[in-house]
Amino acid sequence: MSEAVLNGVEHQHDHHPTGIKRWLFTTNHKDIGTLYLCFSLLMFFIGGAMALVIRAELFSPGIQYVDPQFFNSMTTMHALIMVFGVVMPGTVGFANWMLPMMIGAPDMALPRMNNWSFWILPFAFTLLLMTLLLPGGGPAGGWTMYPPLMLQTEHALPFVIFAVHFMGVSSVMGAINIVATILNMRAPGMKLLDMPLFVWTWLVTAFLLIGSIPVLAGAVTMLLTDKFFGTSFFDAAGGGDPVLFQHVFWFFGHPEVYILILPAFGVVSQIIPTFARKPLFGYVSMVYATCSIALLSFIVWAHHMFTVGMPLAAELFFMYATMSIAVPTGVKIFNWIATMWRGEMTFETPMLFAVAFVILFTIGGFSGLMLGIAPVDFQYHDTYFVVAHFHYVLVSGAIFSMMAGAYYWLPKWTGYMYDEKLGKLHFWLSVVSVNLLFFPQHFLGLAGMPRRIPDYSTQFSEWNAISSVGGFVFGFSQLILVWVIIKSARGHGEKATAQVWEGANGLEWTLSSPPPYHSFEVPPKISRS
């Protein structure tokens, strides 16, 4: 506000440093959102390249291209990058861009911290990626970092741990900012239950981040002291317990799963009503379902570790608790379908990705339910069935919803419509190849192929070959997305209107496309429909 006073009447507010300084010093939610999204896209290709190393090696039995140790570091780095470098920053990017516009605020509540929470990330990932150049190679103990194996890591260990700490600090600061923004900066008259669902899912996600990331920080710090300072938290010989790490890790890890997927739910809940030209069905039950999923996510962690040998009572508890998550998740899926029901649907690229999300995420949900049945998990655990499951919910789930969101909001961000033909091509290539890539992995897992192996018995050859072909098609199809974004950002395409989509509703669509540098300088009036 002081700036406005200083500049007197001529306060366009659009003036800012140009060039590199604009991006380094920016405190603007849109600039920071753009930074997050570009970073996420870059990491998507780095993590994706690692996935292609994995799929190339697994194309046929025998070791063809890489040493098994390097293969293990590829699976480890691929997961760390995709989880912490793609999905988390990506959804934070959406939050930065859209939250202030959706709640009628000028910017985020804590703009300087916003700048900092982004600029930590490039350092964190440089630290992580440079481990590949160290003697002994990158971390190869899996993204779950289980000791004692992780403690066998050579020089990479402290780098990975500090990288994880940095990512955690960035996430927690981002989360605090989001909570502060949502709770304090809504336009006058906007009650919590008036907020768009994307805002709701991010509010809940932010609390999950604040609750779980410090637990991860604790777990990896204990690894650090076990390795370098003579403690034995996870060493039985010194009175510790390796399984303790798994409990602590998954106490973070399971809420983390919902940190990745809840914003995706939010994006899809914005898109489906727009293209069905119909209000979201069961708004209030969607909010309650989101909250109950978040609460349950803190009491189901041990279903990731049914095979470590827990007491029967604990196994039963975690099995029942896990199954119960299917209920609120089911409510969400039914509500999306009810939103589509008797709507007036059109199928532009965002809607195509959103519909594919609902179907493919549900398939991932089904395998998740099967995995939750403890005695059967004794077969499924640590096989490709699990790999298929979490890629269905994360790639055709979280990533697809991010694609949907990118197409949906791109005209708003750039002021120009994206190329619909290329968008549809991108969608169809992605949706076919992602199924070719991950569906056969269900069969591999059931037939007995363990995960995280660089070579396999010959009866697994066929499905692995198919999966690898799917992987390469999926990977290279993503270049279309980059092209679409570049075209739209450089102003090739039809000028977008403020509303962009015929069925779009909400404050963000009342602003021009592209929106002014500071979103709402005067709070909008909230009309209740």
């Binding site: 194309f59 039995p61 025998g62 070791i63 890489v66 040493d67 140790q69 002994g136 103990g141 289980y146 004692p148 066998q152 050579e154 060493d235 039985a236 390796p242 030209r277 119909k278 069905f281 095979t307 470590v308 029967l312 196994e315 029942y320 119960s324 299917a326 209920v327 089911g330 039914f334 379908i337 009810a338 589509m340 029901w341 008797r342 709507g343 007036e344 649907m345 059109t346 199928f347 609902v358 549900t362 398939i363 089904f366 339910l369 049945i373 403890a374 005695p375 059967v376 077969q379 640590d382 056969p440 059931l446 007995g448 070579d455 018995s457 010959t458 009866q459 050859s461 066929e462 499905w463």
Partner: protein, 379 residues
């Protein structure tokens, strides 16, 4: 046909294009095994129950969705209705999933309780995971042995081995010494580990269980059909995680008793050579076979290792330096590295033989040797 695209893969690619009938899929393994124990069959039935249930739900949910996608579109000229909620429907789709879940929970609970009932077992086998092989100890019989990936498979799986792995039967699922059990006997497995966490898994038994250093897990099985059942380590355990198979041979009771007797005798013989003087040739011959099972996965068949993690033995200061250092590193291992303490894993004869081999083969020619008796004294 080029090296990395086999005929079967071409077939599979054609198949995925939908040009072959679905029945041809059976040979590629699509589903979980029914297994060979009562528990494994119960688990299979639970899996199928869950699979059929989710398939039916999927058909209904996706069917409704697709119907809506076809009919409720703007191009058909429909007008969007504006309903926002319907409490009855919302109650229905909360209650029905709860009922479906309860229908899974009951049989799952029963099977789980049965699985955890480790009472009245007739014999016990202690399974210890090592990087990267298994050790089996028959507690009542008082004998035990290591079980590693068979040497021809180990050779074939090396990068650029030039061996066509599709010609190898049960590629990567073959060991030198399978674990043998009698059928129709309730057997308790105790699982632990010497280094990192492993997981012992034979799909036909219906379960896997983690082998955790410093802790002992237990589980049981009772196999009903004689046969050879194959599995592998299921928990990431380092570089060669993919190369520590489990081969379980279930045989009739009498055959088992005979096998156990032979094993005990064999082990007595193997350990008995400690006192006598061994010749260089004898040690070298035995040393080579020990090297190919115990050392080769890290230090490699040619002794070049995989630096920097696994150092070369050829010309190394240990393998060509004072023999006492060489003995102590083999017996006690090396703290802070993956070099294990072989004193616990091999008998004195094997250790003497392998040390002698390492000093006089793999490009080394130190010329000295060590007798099993000296190793025993050093231990």
């Amino acid at each position: 046909m080029s090296d990395f695209v086999s005929n079967r893969q071409i077939k599979a690619l054609i198949l995925c294009a939908g040009l072959m009938p679905a029945t041809a899929l059976a040979e590629y393994g699509l589903n979980m095994t029914r297994g060979v124990t009562t528990i494994s069959r119960e688990i299979y039935d639970l899996h199928m129950l869950a699979f059929i249930m989710v398939s039916i739900i999927g058909l209904i949910v996706f069917g409704l969705m697709i119907w809506s996608i076809i009919h409720h579109r703007k191009s058909k000229g429909v007008k969007a209705s504006q309903f926002r909620h319907n409490s009855n429907w919302e109650t229905v789709w909360t209650i029905i999933p709860i009922l479906i879940l309860l229908s899974f929970a009951a049989p799952a609970t029963r099977t789980l309780i049965e699985l955890e009932d480790i009472e009245d077992t007739e014999m016990t086998i202690k399974v210890t995971g090592y990087q990267w092989r298994w050790h089996y100890q028959y507690l009542e019989e008082d004998f035990g042995f290591f079980s590693s990936l068979a040497s021809d498979h180990n050779e074939a799986r090396q990068k650029n081995s030039g061996i066509d792995v599709s010609k190898i039967e049960n590629y990567l699922l073959e060991v030198d010494n399978p674990v043998v059990i009698p059928v129709e006997t309730k057997i308790r497995f105790l699982l632990t580990s010497n280094d990192v966490i492993h997981a012992w898994w034979v799909p036909e038994l219906g379960w896997k269980r983690d082998a955790i250093p410093g802790f002992i897990n237990s589980n049981w099985t009772m196999v009903t059909e004689p046969g050879i059942y194959r599995g592998q380590c299921a928990e990431l355990c380092g570089r060669d995680h993919g190369f520590m198979p489990v081969v379980l041979k279930a045989v009739p009771q009498e055959e088992y008793l005979q096998w156990a007797k032979d094993m005990k005798q064999q082990q007595a013989e193997a350990a008995s050579g400690v006192d006598r003087e061994w010749t260089m040739a004898e040690l070298m011959e035995r040393g080579e076979s020990v090297y190919t099972t115990a050392c080769v996965s890290c230090h490699q068949a040619n002794g070049q290792g995989l630096p920097p993690v696994f150092p070369a033995l050829t010309g190394s200061p240990i393998a060509t330096g004072p023999i006492s250092d060489h003995i102590s590193i083999v017996i006690d291992g090396m703290q802070g590295t993956t070099m294990p303490a072989f004193g616990e894993q091999l008998n004195a004869v094997d250790i003497a033989a392998v040390i002698t081999f390492e000093r006089n083969a793999l490009g080394n020619s130190v010329g000295d040797m060590v007798q099993p008796a000296e190793i025993q004294a050093a231990q």
